[in-house]
């Protein structure tokens, strides 16, 4: 008689948006598989590439040869359509019950994935979010201007929104799939504000959010896009959330 009391295995979908990350995505996949193969969990990697001109998709195809195209799923789009919709697009192709979202630029290190999973199992949280600002977390590679911007944005957001989450703009997170689907539908902003909007709306809807400390090393390869325009966008987003949530 076969007795199987173990619960059905969970599938984790790891959603990664890329734009011009040909080197980073290769390094990231190596580190992802190294971490997750040790962990004995079922997972799939879903990469949403927005027609990167640097040949990111060619590299992804090579990675599929190494790791299998049932493990690495390339779900490209025809043009650079932005981050928010990249998540929506990736989510449509995700088979997992739990969804990780992370950046491709190695600022989000896969070695923290086990602590997200453990935290979720321990607390049964709807969302586990990585925080740079609690004990055990940290940032490397930011200049004073970048730090000042981040602290200023954080103080402003906490004064106006009272969000109960220490790191609003971090985007290394684990979601229950239905929760992410609902949030993605109700979020309207683009770019940087998107991450903040997701987590603020989640607190307003009463979802349980747990935090795990992560360290964030600023990208070594490639370029990020934080400029004056993003700061204005951030302030607009802040007021939008102040009045609509």
């Amino acid at each position: 008689m076969e007795k199987d009391s173990s619960p059905p295995r969970r599938l984790y979908s790891i959603l990664i948006p890329t734009y011009n990350e040909r080197l980073n995505i290769a390094l990231l996949c190596y580190l992802l598989f190294k971490t997750l193969n040790d962990l004995d969990v079922d997972f799939e990697v879903i990469i949403v590439d927005d027609a990167s001109p640097d040949g990111t998709q060619d590299v992804i195809k090579q990675l599929q040869q190494i790791y299998g195209d049932h493990k690495i799923l390339l779900r490209p789009r025809a043009a650079k359509l932005g981050l928010g919709t990249a998540y929506v697009h990736g989510l449509q192709h995700a088979a997992g019950d739990y969804i990780f979202i992370m950046d491709a630029d190695l600022s989000h290190h896969p070695k923290y994935i086990p602590s997200f999973i453990r935290k979720q199992l321990d607390t049964n949280a709807d969302i586990v979010t990585g925080t740079r600002y609690l004990k055990g977390g940290g940032v490397h590679g930011w200049d004073l201007r970048r730090k000042l911007t981040s602290r200023g944005a954080n103080v402003l957001a906490h004064t106006l929104l009272w969000p109960h989450v220490s790191d609003l703009t971090g985007s290394f997170r684990l979601y229950r799939k239905p929760v992410l689907e609902e949030l993605v539908k109700s979020c309207v902003s683009k770019g940087y504000v998107f991450q903040m909007e997701m987590i603020v709306r989640a607190t307003r809807k009463g979802y349980y959010i747990a935090e795990v400390p992560i360290s964030f090393v600023d990208r070594v390869y490639g370029t990020s896009k934080l400029g004056g325009a993003e700061i204005v966008q951030y302030l607009k987003g802040l007021f939008l959330l102040f009045f609509t949530t």
């Binding site: 990675l63 600002y133 940032v139 602290r151």
Partner: protein, 92 residues
């Protein structure tokens, strides 16, 4: 309840308290002299609190230089593996 209303409720309560004080008779004279300016004090105090928090946040900003060394090691390991598999890991 929308955040703007929660926030407004707090501000409204403070304003109501202030008006109550303005209307109340026989306060000590020194107090009734500064009373009209209390909202200005409050705003200045809030601004100072904000600046102070930003300054404090900068002072205790958590850094992790060690992590960047670890990441560099991981990158080297990954590059060696990928090169062996024939993935192009040149960075231009």
């Amino acid at each position: 309840m929308k955040q703007v209303f929660k926030f407004g409720a707090v501000v409204g309560t403070l304003v109501a308290l202030w008006i109550g004080l303005l209307l109340s008779p026989d306060l000590p004279q020194s107090f009734s002299l500064i009373l009209p300016f209390l909202p200005v004090y409050a705003l200045v105090a809030l601004g100072c609190y904000g600046l102070g928090m930003v300054g404090y946040g900068l002072m205790v900003f958590p850094t992790c230089p060690h992590e960047s060394i670890l990441l560099q090691k991981d990158i080297d390991e990954a590059k060696a593996f990928l090169k062996e598999k024939g993935v192009d890991v040149a960075y231009q």
